[in-house]
C-alpha cells in the first residue's frame, strides 16, 4: 500500500511538472512572438514607405471561397470579397453541391452566366458541373460542383484558378480591405515564400460597415469572450512565436495565402482528413525539406481577417473535437518527421511540442485532476501539494492568458474601450478556471474519436451574418 501511494505521489509530481512545463513553454513562446511581432511591424512599415512594392506589377491572387448551404450570407460575403484593395485578383466561389438556394442567389445577384472555361485536372476533385462568370463582375467566378467537402472544393478552386497565388478563406471570413497587399509583402520580401498565414480575430461583438470593421469590441456572451482571449493567446501570439523559429506548422483554414504552383506540386489538399489546412502546411514543409530546396512559410501578424466564433457550447465542442482529430491525423501522417534532425526546428522543436503539449495534454491534464482527487482522498498527497498543483495548473495558466492580453495592448491595441480590456483580463482568469478543463475534455473525446476512426465534420450551424451592418 505504501508503495502504491508512493507511485501515486510520483505520478502527481510528474503531472505537476508537466503543467509547469506547458505553461512556461507557452510563456516563452509568447516572448518570442513579441519579438517577432515587433520585427514584422517594422518590416511592413518599410515596405509601405518605399517603392519596394507595387502590387500592380507583382503577383496575382485567386481568392477561393468554398460555400456549402450559405444562402443567408453568400451575397454579402462575396460582395465583401470583391471589394478588396488589390489590383489583380479574382474571386472564385466554389458551390460545393449546396442543397439550398446558394447558387441561385449568386446567379441572380451577380448576373452570372455559364462560361466555357478550361479546367486542367491538376488536382483531384469531385466533378465540376459548370463555371459561371459575369460581364458586370469580371473578376468573379462561381464553380458549381458535386459535394466533396472543403478540401475538395478548394482543390476544384485551385484547378480553375489562373493566378500566381491562392487565398483560401472560409465562407464566414471577413477580410480587411488591405489584407491582400499585406500578405503579398511576405512574397515580395522573399521570392521563396510558398505560404503565408494571417491573423484570425473574433468578430462577435464588433460592428461592421461596408465590409469594414468599425468598432472592435469584446463579444457579449461568456463563451465568445473566452474565445476572444483564447484567439489572442494561441492564434495571434502563438503562431507568431512559431514564425520566429521558422517552424509554422499550421495556417488557419479561415485565411491563408499559398503559392499556387507549390500547392499543386505537393498534390493539393487532402480529402480524407479533417485537418486539411494543417496537413497541407506540414506537407509543404516536408516536400521542400526533403529536396533541400529553399522555401519559407510565414505568419504575419498585421493582415487581419474576422470570423464568427461559435456561441453555443455544443457547436464549439464539435469544432474543437474536429480540430483535435485534424491535429492527431496530421501528426500521425507525418510521424516520420518527429524528432528527425533532417527537419530542423520543425521536427525537433515544433512537432514534439505539438505532440506533447497540444495533442497529449488533454489526457495528462484530465487524468491528472482525477488522480489528484484520488490521491488526496487516499492520503498519497497532502493539501500543500494540492495547492502547488492548483498553482501550476490554473494560476500559471492565468498568467499566460493575462500576458497575452498585455501583448495585445503593447502591440496592436485593437480593442478601443477600457471596458474591453477589463473584460479580457477577467476572462483571462476565467479561461483557466473551467473552460480549459472543458476544452481538455472535448479534445480528449476528439483524440478518442480519432483513434476510433471518426472522420465526420459534424453539423456546423451558421447564425445570420455577423457582418451585416
Amino acid at each position: 500500500m505504501d508503495l502504491f501511494l508512493k507511485i501515486l505521489l510520483y505520478i502527481n509530481v510528474f503531472v505537476f511538472i508537466y503543467f509547469v512545463f506547458v505553461n512556461v513553454s507557452y510563456i516563452t513562446l509568447l516572448y518570442f512572438s513579441y519579438v517577432q511581432t515587433k520585427r514584422s511591424r517594422k518590416e511592413s512599415k518599410i515596405f509601405r514607405l518605399s517603392g519596394l512594392f507595387d502590387s500592380r506589377l507583382y503577383k496575382s491572387i485567386s481568392i477561393l471561397a468554398p460555400a456549402y448551404n450559405e444562402e443567408e450570407s453568400i451575397i454579402e460575403s462575396t460582395r465583401a470579397l470583391l471589394n478588396l484593395e488589390f489590383t489583380d485578383y479574382e474571386v472564385i466561389v466554389v458551390n460545393d453541391g449546396s442543397k439550398d438556394e446558394t447558387l441561385a442567389k449568386l446567379i441572380d445577384n451577380f448576373k452570372l452566366k455559364k462560361i466555357d472555361r478550361y479546367i486542367p485536372n491538376e488536382l483531384n476533385c469531385e466533378p465540376i458541373k459548370a463555371v459561371y462568370g459575369s460581364r458586370h463582375y469580371p473578376n468573379l467566378f462561381v464553380v458549381d460542383k458535386e459535394n466533396g467537402r472543403k478540401a475538395d472544393a478548394l482543390n476544384a478552386g485551385i484547378n480553375v484558378s489562373r493566378k500566381d497565388l491562392i487565398c483560401a478563406v472560409d465562407s464566414d471570413t471577413l477580410l480587411e480591405p488591405t489584407v491582400l497587399q499585406q500578405m503579398l509583402m511576405a512574397f515580395v520580401a522573399n521570392p521563396n515564400t510558398v505560404a503565408v498565414g494571417g491573423v484570425v480575430r473574433v468578430a462577435n461583438g464588433c460592428t461592421f460597415n461596408l465590409g469594414e470593421v468599425q468598432k472592435v469590441n469584446t463579444p457579449k456572451t461568456h463563451i465568445a469572450r473566452i474565445q476572444a482571449v483564447e484567439y489572442l493567446r494561441s492564434f495571434l501570439f502563438g503562431r507568431t512565436g512559431w514564425d520566429y523559429f521558422d517552424s509554422l506548422l499550421i495556417i488557419s483554414g479561415a485565411f491563408g495565402v499559398f503559392d499556387r504552383e507549390s500547392v499543386i506540386k505537393v498534390g493539393g489538399y487532402l480529402h480524407d482528413t479533417v485537418g486539411e489546412d494543417m496537413e497541407l502546411v506540414v506537407r509543404l514543409h516536408r516536400y521542400y525539406r526533403d529536396r533541400d530546396e529553399k522555401y519559407r512559410i510565414r505568419f504575419l501578424p498585421e493582415p487581419v481577417c474576422w470570423t464568427e466564433v461559435p456561441e453555443s457550447w455544443s457547436v464549439l465542442g464539435r469544432q474543437r473535437n474536429r480540430w483535435q482529430r485534424g491535429l492527431a491525423d496530421t501528426l500521425w501522417r507525418h510521424r516520420k518527421m518527429m524528432l528527425n534532425p533532417k527537419y530542423g526546428s520543425l521536427g525537433m522543436l515544433a512537432m514534439p511540442f505539438f505532440l506533447m503539449v497540444e495533442l497529449l495534454s488533454p489526457i495528462i491534464e484530465l487524468s491528472g485532476y482525477v488522480l489528484l482527487a484520488v490521491s488526496l482522498y487516499l492520503g498519497a498527497i497532502n493539501v500543500q501539494f494540492a495547492l502547488l498543483f492548483f498553482t501550476a495548473a490554473v494560476l500559471l495558466g492565468m498568467i499566460l492568458s493575462v500576458l497575452s492580453v498585455m501583448l495585445e495592448e503593447l502591440t496592436f491595441r485593437r480593442y478601443d474601450r477600457m471596458r474591453d480590456v477589463l473584460i479580457l483580463i477577467l476572462y483571462a482568469f476565467l479561461e483557466n478556471f473551467g473552460y480549459r478543463q472543458i476544452h481538455a475534455w472535448w479534445r480528449l473525446k476528439g483524440l478518442i474519436d480519432f483513434l476510433k476512426g471518426n472522420k465526420s465534420w459534424g453539423e456546423m450551424t451558421r447564425s445570420k451574418g455577423t457582418f451585416s451592418s
Partner: protein, 125 residues
C-alpha cells in the same frame, strides 16, 4: 456665370485635399464624400454637373456606382459627366470605365495640371 457643381468621391485623404484645394481655388463649387454608398446617394440627390470618381472605394466600387446609375430608370446618366481617377489602370479597367460612361479616365499617379485640363475639357463638352 453660375459655378459648376463638382462632386468628388475619393477616400484617399491627401489626394482629396489636393483636388479640393485646387478646384475650390479655381472657383468651382465642390463637394466631397469618402465612400461609395454616400457617393451614389449624393449623385442621385444633388445631380452634380461633374463627378470625379475613384474606383477603389469602401462599400461599393466606382464601377458599381456607374452600373447602378445606368440601370436606374429614374436617372439619366447622360446628364452627368464623369471623370474616373484611380490607381486601377490596366487596359481592362480603362475600357471598362469608358464602357460604363466615363468621359475621362485618369490613372494614378497623376499630374495635377493635366487633370485640371482634362476636367475643364469635359465640363465644356
Amino acid at each position: 456665370m453660375s459655378k459648376e457643381r463638382i462632386l468628388l468621391v475619393e477616400d484617399e485623404e491627401m489626394t482629396a485635399r489636393l483636388i479640393l484645394y485646387r478646384l475650390k481655388g479655381l472657383g468651382y463649387d465642390v463637394e466631397h464624400v469618402k465612400d461609395g454608398v454616400s457617393g451614389l446617394e449624393k449623385i442621385k440627390t444633388t445631380k452634380p454637373d461633374l463627378v470625379v470618381l475613384d474606383v477603389m472605394l469602401p462599400g461599393i466600387s466606382g464601377f458599381e456606382i456607374l452600373q447602378d446609375l445606368e440601370e436606374d430608370e429614374d436617372f439619366d446618366l447622360s446628364l452627368i459627366k464623369v471623370i474616373m481617377l484611380t490607381s486601377k489602370s490596366r487596359a481592362e479597367d480603362v475600357s471598362r470605365g469608358f464602357g460604363l460612361g466615363a468621359m475621362e479616365y485618369v490613372p494614378k499617379p497623376f499630374k495635377m495640371d493635366e487633370f485640371i485640363l482634362r476636367l475643364k475639357r469635359v465640363l465644356k463638352s
